[in-house]
């Protein structure tokens, strides 16, 4: 067997494994989410299929495959079918770039499917491809509510993508590389980045929620206003694929946050004193961190109410974007003028900024909470004209 074929096959195998892992996680994620939400809302959640409802995901899967797959008459058939495939394809692909351990740590193989120098960039690019799935799905349905949902979701996703992209700039300046391995390595040496980029992390976290269409940013499928948004006309497996994509995106986002701000696949360094090499164990640490963030996602969903659409957009453009820029500039200024001082001051600055924001939150809120003017329709049209 030639070398390249072996590499190819191994990559393929890893890809299949990762995909299967993700799908399983997705399946149980839904169960866990429903159970947890039930617990938070003082009700049991699904508990009939199998012990503690453990077989519920399997049942859901079988149902969605065997359900009738409707394609509404006005839909653009090809795009309508393609949209969920794109959505899930991009979501799954994105995850493959995240390293789960040091090189060659997994039976002599690398614990990642692919590794690019521009890791973050590639990942951001792939995740933003997800918006195509949603938009095309909504558009191809040829119906009013899906269209609105699609528009909303694309507007929302692109708006928050800016915040997302800008919020990691400070981090990149500190680290000086875009490869995940490099970032993880830097954190192992200098301490996890959440310490120095608290503000950046906060912004990234919020953007991630918006990017994955999770509460409080789940406007695209806000059933009270637009039925189910872009999903309105979807049923059976295509619907399931969209759901899958959403959850996989959540997992990916969790993984990215874990990698960028929380040391990635490395465990805390002091644990090496207990069991040598413990912090280098592949997969374990990453999964643990992902699990934490997934819990956070569910927790927030159980806690926060949904934003109104105009609030959502204002929040993204008027608060997130300038703050991310400010974070970048502060980091840049710090790096330019720090002299030989350590990084701790930047951490303090960042925390202080975050704290200040929290303290001033009542004042800051007016920025996005209420519209400053009511625009007459004619003016809105004219603004589009020029």
């Amino acid at each position: 067997m030639p070398d390249w074929l072996a590499t190819l096959l191994i990559s393929l195998l890893k890809a299949v494994l990762v995909v299967l892992g993700l799908l399983t996680t997705f399946a149980y994620m839904t169960l866990i989410e429903r159970r947890l939400l039930g617990r938070m809302q003082l009700r049991p959640g699904p508990n009939r299929v199998g012990p503690m409802g453990l077989l519920q995901p399997a049942a859901d899967a079988i149902k969605s495959i065997f359900k009738e797959d409707l394609t509404v008459t006005l839909a653009d058939k090809l795009v309508y079918t393609l949209a969920p495939i794109i959505a899930i394809g991009m979501a799954l692909t994105a995850f493959g770039g995240i390293p789960a351990g040091p090189a060659r740590s997994l039976f002599g193989e690398n614990p990642w499917v692919y590794n690019l120098d521009a890791g973050i960039l590639a990942l951001l690019a792939l995740t933003s491809m997800g918006v195509y799935g949603i938009f095309l799905g909504g558009w191809a349905s040829g119906s009013k509510y899906p269209m609105l949902g699609a528009l909303r979701s694309s507007a929302q996703m692109i708006s928050y993508e800016l915040g997302m992209g800008l919020s990691i700039l400070g981090l990149l300046m500190l680290v000086g590389t875009t490869s995940f391995q490099g970032i993880v390595g830097w954190q192992a040496q200098n301490g996890v980045l959440i310490l120095f980029q608290a503000l950046g992390f906060a912004l990234f976290l919020i953007s991630s929620f918006a990017e994955t269409n999770r509460t409080p940013f789940d406007l695209p499928e806000a059933e009270q206003e637009i039925v189910a948004g872009y999903l309105t006309e979807y049923s059976a497996i295509k619907w399931a694929l969209f759901q899958m994509a959403e959850y996989v995106n959540m997992i990916t986002a969790s993984a990215i946050m874990a990698t960028l701000f929380f040391g990635g696949w490395k465990g805390p360094q002091f644990l090496n004193a207990v069991i040598p090499g413990m912090s280098d164990w592949p997969i374990v640490w990453l999964v643990a961190k992902i699990a934490f963030f997934l819990f956070l996602f569910i927790w927030v969903r159980g806690t926060l109410p949904r934003l109104r659409y105009d609030q959502l957009m204002r929040f993204g453009w008027k608060l997130l974007l300038p703050l991310a820029l400010a974070n970048t500039v502060v980091t840049a200024a710090f790096l330019a003028f720090r002299g030989s001082g350590g990084l701790w001051f930047l951490g303090v600055l960042s925390f202080a900024g975050l704290l200040a924001l929290l303290i001033m939150s009542d004042r800051v809120r007016v920025l996005w909470n209420q519209p400053t003017v009511r625009r007459p329709e004619s003016e809105a049209v004219r603004a589009g004209g020029d």
Binding site: G384, G385, D386
Partner: protein, 100 residues
């Protein structure tokens, strides 16, 4: 390593397609998309050449070109949308106020 010629051939084909699009398509949007195709052909050529010279200048040029393309998209779409909203057509042949 793939020879530079292949990339050039690809870029040439893309460019030709774009050119044909510009010359034959009658909808503003399609003309515009063809132009974007041509820009991307140029990008591919730039990257290919940059690789063959082992020189990063070409890649930075691609960066700039991408920006220009984006700016063009923004302004072009604004103009096309403005026209479309006013008269429901972006067919280039329908715009005949300025013949003569």
């Amino acid at each position: 390593m793939v020879p530079t010629t292949y990339y050039l051939a690809l870029s040439g084909i893309l460019f030709a397609l774009g050119m044909i699009g510009v010359l034959t398509r009658r909808t503003a949007i399609m003309v515009f998309l063809s132009v974007e195709l041509m820009l991307n052909a140029a990008n591919i050529a730039l990257v290919a050449f940059a690789r063959s010279w082992g020189d990063p200048t070409g890649q930075t040029a691609v960066f700039i070109v991408m920006t220009l393309a984006a700016a063009e998209v923004a302004i072009g779409l604004a103009i096309i949308v403005a026209i479309f909203r006013k008269r429901e057509t972006t067919n280039v042949d329908d715009l005949a106020a300025l013949k003569g």
